[in-house]
């Protein structure tokens, strides 16, 4: 089964600027979809160097999400998983 890869930035800047709750993401994904998602945390993923985007950052399948919230990420994941089938 295809897995959607989520990288949550756990870098200090993202952590301070609103991203501190994001690592709890898996608790908010509908249980039936959990096996189609792979979540990992990573130190600074370098998007914070870009002044045009606001932290906190996350990536889903390589696409960047700025001002990330649990809600935003969950919605996006569900959309991607439902598109697969």
């Amino acid at each position: 089964m295809k897995k959607h890869k989520v990288t949550i930035c756990t870098g200090t800047l993202c952590h301070v600027m609103g991203g501190s709750e994001l690592p709890a993401l898996s608790q908010f994904i509908p249980p039936q979809y959990l096996n189609q998602v792979e979540i990992k945390g990573s130190p600074c993923i370098n998007h914070c160097k870009n002044q045009d985007m606001k932290p906190p950052f996350a990536e889903i399948d390589g696409d960047i999400f700025c001002e990330a919230t649990i809600d935003k990420l969950v919605k996006e994941l569900i959309k991607r998983i439902e598109n697969d089938s």
């Binding site: 200090t12 952590h15 301070v16 709890a24």
Partner: protein, 470 residues
């Protein structure tokens, strides 16, 4: 609105980061651009226009730097002027910035135009005060009669009656925040216990605590010996290992670091002795903990509570600061703290020179470009017991005392100084239903401190995950 994830909090942090960056680079003039950089013309505005948004940012920065807006005698003085003459914490750490306060209308029930003026009119029928009439065709509430019971809102089948809140006043459990004739909020300093609820509740961020970061950074730049004293709850603030967090703090330029948990061990030992004496003396009220300054201030402002119920034991900070000053008489001391009340406590202690919150620490890390996971570990010379470390949690003080007290005694802990808990506490004290009571103003104790970077739920998770691996 959660305390952590909202734009008012993020803007406060953004201001701290930008201010810190300018201070570290010795570029005070750069701070004049902060409002323009945060609120560029193209992004639209939250208030009436982008210029008001920018003015608000200036007043927030002034508040961080220890200036009230009323002290702005010359409006042309730029932010950099206040940065160069940063005053740190003045007589009071928090106040309402009138220019930022949005004059929220008074809290009351209001009828919206969803009202259908129906035949049933359950709002009118069920109103215990006869406050509802239909003179104008739709329901109308007579504010003089209305007692805000909310029955009408519950009964209306169209959900046409809404409660319009005034968040700061609602959050204050001690009635310390009030509106003047012009509609601006003020904090009554004789009643305020520095619980920080209003700061977290205000959706406009009108309450912005002052900071001593400029002074601390300049001490470091002058090469002075400066020692960090870190509250145990820091362990719940960052995911990395405690020693790596300490290492990151050292990287900021501190010459040494002491965990305040060493003071907590002393507090626990002393408080246990005090409790034993208290029980033996057969006093008819419980002894309560002294380490939460908001609780101490609460008792002192309440005429119905006797000051004697607070233990005389010095707080973990007081003990730690004393040790640090004894061992390093020339050093300046900086307490790294979870909340506003602790900032006030530090301000009043002669052994403690400065205090910053976890939030200010986080902003400082960001401004210095410190990635915690890349930093070296730092092991302090003195270490505390696990019980001392656990003062971070709600119930931590009780736990430490339970371990060492000899007498059989009844211990309780209550965290979150809201209206319901205040009633509960008063009742427990009156009925003497326990011998010792730990009271923490913040929910979840210091792990839920009001100047945290992390929600209390997440900070408990982080804290417990570390405890398991140790």
């Amino acid at each position: 609105m959660t305390a952590n994830n909202n734009n008012a909090t993020i803007i406060r942090r953004d201001l701290l980061v930008r201010l810190c960056t300018a201070l570290l680079q010795d570029k005070a003039e750069e701070t004049d651009r902060i409002p323009l950089n945060i609120k560029p013309k193209k992004r639209g505005s939250v208030r009436c226009c982008v210029h008001k948004d920018r003015a608000v940012l200036k007043y927030k920065l002034m508040s961080i730097l220890g200036y009230k807006e009323s002290e702005e005698t010359d409006e042309l003085l730029p932010i950099s002027h206040y940065v160069k003459h940063a005053r740190g914490i003045q007589d009071f750490i928090i106040d309402v910035i009138s220019e930022v306060c949005s004059n929220c209308p008074s809290a009351k029930y209001k009828v919206s135009n969803f009202c259908m003026a129906c035949e049933a009119r359950p709002c009118q029928v069920n109103c215990p005060k006869n406050a509802i009439s239909f003179k104008s065709g739709k329901a109308e509430i007579d504010d003089d009669l209305c007692v805000n019971c909310g029955k009408c809102a519950k009964e209306c089948p169209y959900h046409a009656i809404q409660y319009q809140a005034r968040p700061c006043e609602e959050s204050c459990a001690v009635g310390a925040i009030y509106q003047d004739e012009q509609g601006f909020e003020h904090i009554d300093k004789s009643k305020c216990i520095l619980c920080g609820n209003c700061m977290q509740a205000c959706p406009f961020g009108a309450i912005t605590p002052s900071s001593t970061l400029p002074q601390i950074i300049s001490e470091i730049k002058s090469g002075n010996q400066i020692i960090a004293m870190v509250a145990p709850s820091i362990a719940g603030q960052f995911r990395q290992d405690l020693h790596q967090i300490y290492g990151s703090i050292i990287s900021l330029g501190f010459t040494d670091l002491y965990p305040v948990a060493i003071g907590a061990d002393l507090t626990a030992a002393h408080e246990t002795i005090e409790l034993q004496e208290h029980i033996e003396s057969k006093v008819t009220s419980p002894l309560t903990s002294s380490c939460c300054p908001a609780w101490v201030k609460f008792v002192k402002t309440q005429t119905s509570l006797d000051d004697d119920i607070i233990s005389n034991t010095p707080s973990p900070l007081a003990y730690t600061a004393k040790i640090v000053k004894q061992e390093n008489p020339k050093a300046k001391t900086v307490f790294i703290a979870p909340c506003i009340a602790k900032k006030a406590e530090a301000q009043a202690l002669s052994d403690c020179d400065y205090c910053i919150s976890f939030e200010e620490l986080g902003a400082w890390f960001v401004a210095s470009g410190i990635e915690i996971s890349d930093q070296m570990e730092y092991k302090p010379k003195v270490t505390a017991s696990l019980l001392g470390q656990n003062f971070a949690m709600a119930g931590g003080v009780s736990l430490a005392i339970k371990e060492s007290v000899e007498n059989d005694c009844r211990i309780e802990n209550i965290h979150g100084l809201n209206k319901a808990n205040i009633r509960l506490i008063k009742q427990k004290i009156k009925s003497h239903s326990c011998d010792f009571m730990e009271v923490m103003s913040c929910e979840e104790g210091c792990l839920g401190g009001n100047l945290s970077l992390v929600s209390s739920r997440e900070s408990i998770r982080i804290y417990n995950a570390k405890a398991e691996t140790h």
